[in-house]
Amino acid sequence: DQQVKQNSPSLSVQEGRISILNCDYTNSMFDYFLWYKKYPAEGPTFLISISSIKDKNEDGRFTVFLNKSAKHLSLHIVPSQPGDSAVYFCAASEFAGGTSYGKLTFGQGTILTVHP
């Protein structure tokens, strides 16, 4: 039973355009959501997060949107750059309500390719 799903295995975008990566979850106890970025042969690196009390969080070119009623979140990258080409993982936790530590449930990842 996959509690966090990224239904698009890959996404290809032209440089300068918007990249939109999507993530769905099923566990209503999740209250903290994160996006991680992973380059080949490297460990994932934290990108941006959002608490369930918010519906949007912005950091430079990266914005995460959370729709709790739909149990859906998305990551927008504007404008996309070739250096953004990587695997993007969505992750969720029951931070406030339960674990209070970094026990994350990850999606399968989406490979983003940004073409020059």
Binding site: F89, A91, F95, Y101, G102, L104
Partner: protein, 114 residues
């Protein structure tokens, strides 16, 4: 170094052998995690350490898997009698105190069981 260090980076072993994977977290990080990523899958939580104790071992797949942490620093993940389904990238992460999930990951140890 400044980041999370894992060794070995690659390990090929025969089915039935034991393997040890090592993690050296960022200095001062009290929380340490092991995750694994099987081919085509997301990262799967294995175990969480706070200091030297492991309050959450719920992700360990079987009793062939064990982990310890000594001195509040280095951790070792041991897999006994390895099976082919154990083949994966094993990732270690650390964070300050309990953290919110903003974990710092190492590069991983790729385990291949023949």
């Amino acid at each position: 170094g400044a980041g999370v260090s894992q060794s070995p980076s690659n390990k090929v072993t025969e089915k039935g052998k034991d393997v040890e994977l090592r993690c050296d977290p960022i200095s001062g990080h009290t929380a340490l995690y092991w995750y694994r990523q099987s081919l085509g899958q997301g990262l799967e939580f294995l175990i969480y350490f706070q200091g030297n104790s492991a309050p959450d071992k719920s992700g360990l797949p079987s009793d062939r898997f064990s982990a310890e942490r000594t001195g509040g620093s280095v951790s070792t993940l041991t897999i006994q009698r390895t099976q082919q389904e154990d083949s994966a990238v094993y990732l270690c992460a650390s964070s300050q105190s309990r953290g919110t999930g903003e974990l710092f990951f190492g590069e991983g140890s790729r385990l291949t069981v023949l």
